[in-house]
């Protein structure tokens, strides 16, 4: 029996056995990962890792920055409106005074 197995291993060579062993090891590792993934998932959702929140937080900061920029532009426009209205008021006052003098 030992002689037969020695011959079989000799004919096969050692390397295919190592190769198959590594392949089986990797497959078993993969199957273990699949089972572990299922078991971990059935425990319910994990608390959200902080680094996952960095994207939305960054987006929020960018949105706040955009809103602030828009507000600044609106403020400038309102200032210009006020200046224009003041100019109109002055012009109307001048017209009124002029008409009174006549």
């Amino acid at each position: 029996m030992e002689g037969a197995s020695e011959k079989a291993f000799g004919a096969l060579g050692q390397f295919p056995i190592i190769q198959a062993a590594v392949a089986i090891l990797i497959l078993l590792g993969g199957v273990y990962m699949i089972f572990k993934a299922y078991m971990d998932k059935s425990k319910g959702p994990d608390p959200m890792p902080q680094w996952l929140m960095m994207g939305p937080l960054h987006d929020m900061m960018e949105a706040v920055h955009d809103i602030a920029e828009e507000s600044r532009k609106s403020n400038d426009l309102l200032k210009e409106c006020r200046d224009a209205l003041l100019a109109c008021k002055s012009a109307l006052e001048l017209i009124r005074n002029e008409s009174r003098l006549r």
């Binding site: 295919p16 990797i26 990962m33 699949i34 572990k36 993934a37 998932k41 959702p45």
Partner: protein, 144 residues
């Protein structure tokens, strides 16, 4: 997904290692087609004992393309997407481990490439990807 750098990074998020692995698989497939197998590809020695060079190239391109499709369509195939990614990563781990094995048994004078550490690291990362694709597939309704 927008085609800006930021859009691509947001879409792939922390799956970028899987994208890299899929790209490498596609690249290896294309290289084998461009310079067919009698060329000195020692990393494929062990695979070529059992399958032809054309089949190896086809396997790399098919595997890489399917993984890339699953990653691009992320979240739109909630049932099958994570499984495709997971099985793709397992197939990748098998390929990288066989390539690593082919390289480490070479005699020192034939060992002209520096790919062995890459193959080993890719094998480990692919096994982690198998886990991640399935364990975290419900975050935001998509595989993370």
């Amino acid at each position: 997904m927008t085609c800006s750098l930021r859009g691509i990074l947001i879409h792939f998020n922390n799956r970028i290692s899987e994208v890299a692995a899929a790209c490498v698989m596609l690249g290896i497939g294309v290289q084998i087609i461009a310079a067919p197998v009698p060329t000195d590809y020692h990393a494929l020695d062990m695979l070529l004992v059992y399958i032809s060079g054309d089949m190896v190239a086809a396997g790399f391109i098919l595997g890489g393309a399917i993984r890339m499709a699953a990653l691009i369509a992320n979240g739109h195939w909630p049932k099958y997407g994570p499984w495709i990614r997971s099985i793709g990563a397992l197939a990748g781990a098998l390929l990288w481990s066989q390539m690593f094995l082919s390289l480490i048994v070479l005699p020192a004078e034939k060992l002209t490439s520096l790919n062995a550490p890459f193959c080993l690291v890719f094998t480990c990362v692919e096994l982690l990807s198998v886990y991640r694709a399935l364990a975290m597939r419900d975050h935001y309704g998509r595989g993370v």
